[in-house]
């Protein structure tokens, strides 16, 4: 204890003497130095101050060398409890308890209502089978597959069609994002969740490819909408690979977007748009308004 005290005092003394050196440097030549031999007097003063600093430094070093480092971590004893507030009256426990109970109650209510509303939509793709009778059987999940499976499936498309080039990237951790180029007609970005297609964006050949920006051209915006319809149509939880394969075949049929006229009216254009609809079974082109 004593040694610590001496070391601390020695450091204080050193600090003040260094402070004095800088003070005198800062104020430079002062009136007290008189008129003759100002510079020599000043230099002498500076020298004195610096020798004091030296002496103090030696003191500090001596004091520090006589200290031993403390053994192990410091024992704070009862002061460690300063960080905890243990008086129950001080804590607003009851109030927060009541709030969280009210909140969970509301969540229950809302989810009941939402379930009633959402179950009316037959196009939803649920991740779990709500049919309780299948409990106990292992669910074939389409979104919980390994990246290798997804990769092997995708490489088959690249080989299957020679005017369609497919490249995979994984900017979102393990879920694949496909960049597809269909001849010189269009480009698309398809985002997967495991083996299930989540989102498709179609743009023209010259445009920048982004998952979030829509195409500048009306025709490709329409094709994006139709691609989403196809994606939902081809969804099958039991056979996810077949679903993706059928979607890609459907997608490939868009290669004749500009060259084939509509099967029903025989014209290329209807309200200034080419046939953007492809029938899901026959892959024939139809205009949006002409589709059967």
């Amino acid at each position: 204890m004593e040694q610590l005290q001496t070391a601390l005092t020695a450091i204080k003394v050193l600090r003040s003497s260094v402070g004095q050196v800088f003070d005198s440097l800062g104020s430079g030549l002062r009136a007290e130095h008189g008129d003759e031999n100002k510079e020599t007097k000043y230099l002498l003063e500076l020298q004195e101050l610096l020798t004091t600093v030296n002496v103090n430094l030696r003191d500090v070093e001596q004091a520090v060398s006589s200290l031993n480092p403390p053994p192990g971590p410091f024992n704070l004893a009862s002061t460690a409890y300063l960080s905890q507030e243990t008086t129950q009256e001080r804590q607003a426990l009851y109030g927060t308890l009541v709030n969280s109970y009210k909140w969970t109650d509301k969540v229950h209510e809302y989810s009941n209502v939402a379930q009633a509303l959402l179950s009316q939509n037959s196009l939803k793709r649920s991740y779990t089978n709500s049919n309780r009778t299948k409990r106990g059987r292992i669910q074939t999940s389409s979104h919980n597959v390994s990246p290798q499976q997804v990769d092997s499936l995708i490489s088959t498309f690249d080989r299957q069609f020679n005017d369609m080039t497919v490249s995979v990237s994984r900017p979102f951790a393990s879920n694949a994002v496909l960049h597809v180029t269909l001849g010189h007609v269009l480009k698309a970005v398809i985002a997967f969740k495991g083996l299930m297609i989540e989102r498709v964006v179609v743009t023209g050949y010259g445009e920048t490819m982004d998952l979030w920006t829509e195409s500048r051209h009306k025709v490709f915006r329409k094709v994006t909408e139709n691609a989403h319809a196809a994606m939902l149509h081809f969804y099958s939880p039991a056979l996810p690979e077949l679903a993706v394969r059928s979607f890609m075949t459907w997608f490939h049929s868009l290669i004749n977007l500009f060259s084939e006229p509509c099967k029903r009216c025989g014209l290329h254009l209807h309200s200034a748009l080419p046939p953007t609809w492809r029938d899901f079974r026959t892959l024939e082109p139809y205009h949006q308004e002409c589709k059967p």
Binding site: G204, F258, S271, A272
Partner: protein, 206 residues
């Protein structure tokens, strides 16, 4: 830049230039087009001085669709060299007036309203050469497609829908040699140059 096709619209006796443009405007607006301003394509020609030997011609064109670019086409004998440069190229041509001189009378331009309908862009241009009216040139661009081969049938159908049977069944000669290449803005300029050349010949100049 989508595939672009130029079509000359024949003049009839009972209609002047502006009346023809108005007639076509009425048709295109009836199809649902919206006017989006004006357009201008102009062409100035420079000829080399005789001391340089074989006569060479430089056509300098501007297109309001690409306002920051200047297009230049050099014809020397049978060789044609295109060049795309930025706005200051005009200054350079001014510096070279002692070697390549311009004949102001041959300055030709196509100017008029610009419409958009769906993904099409239609421009109805009155072609004038130093204040003399020469004809009506219609330009149609289908922006989403960049390969002329796939777009030609579609565009012909569109053109026939508002111009009528003037449109030939075959694509213009210029495009026929490039049906499977990616379309470039320079191709539009070359087509304009061809048409301007034809208009110039109609009065015997150049």
């Amino acid at each position: 830049m989508g595939v672009t096709v130029l079509q000359q619209f024949p003049m009839t006796e009972n209609r002047t230039g502006p009346q023809t443009i108005e007639f076509l405007t009425k048709r295109i607006v009836a199809l649902g087009a919206v006017q989006t301003g004006q357009f201008l394509v102009d062409c100035e020609t420079y000829m080399s001085v005789p001391q340089l030997g074989v006569q060479k011609t430089v056509h300098v064109l501007h297109n309001s669709e690409q306002p920051a670019s200047v297009f230049a086409v050099l014809e020397s004998g049978s060789k044609v060299v295109p060049l795309i440069a930025d706005g200051l190229f005009d200054l350079l041509m001014l510096k070279m007036t002692s070697i390549y001189t311009s004949k102001k009378q041959t300055k030709i331009e196509s100017k008029g309203p610009r419409f958009e309908i769906g993904d099409f862009c239609v421009k109805l241009g009155s072609v004038t050469m130093s204040q003399n009216f020469k004809g009506v040139l219609v330009e149609v661009e289908y922006r989403p497609c960049v390969v002329p081969g796939s777009a030609w049938d579609l565009m012909r159908e569109f053109l026939q829908g508002f111009i009528g049977s003037v449109v030939p069944n075959q694509a213009p000669q210029y495009l026929q040699n490039r049906m499977n290449d990616i379309y470039q803005p320079m191709d539009t300029i070359q087509q304009y140059l061809e048409h301007f050349g034809q208009y110039r010949k109609t009065t015997g100049v150049i």
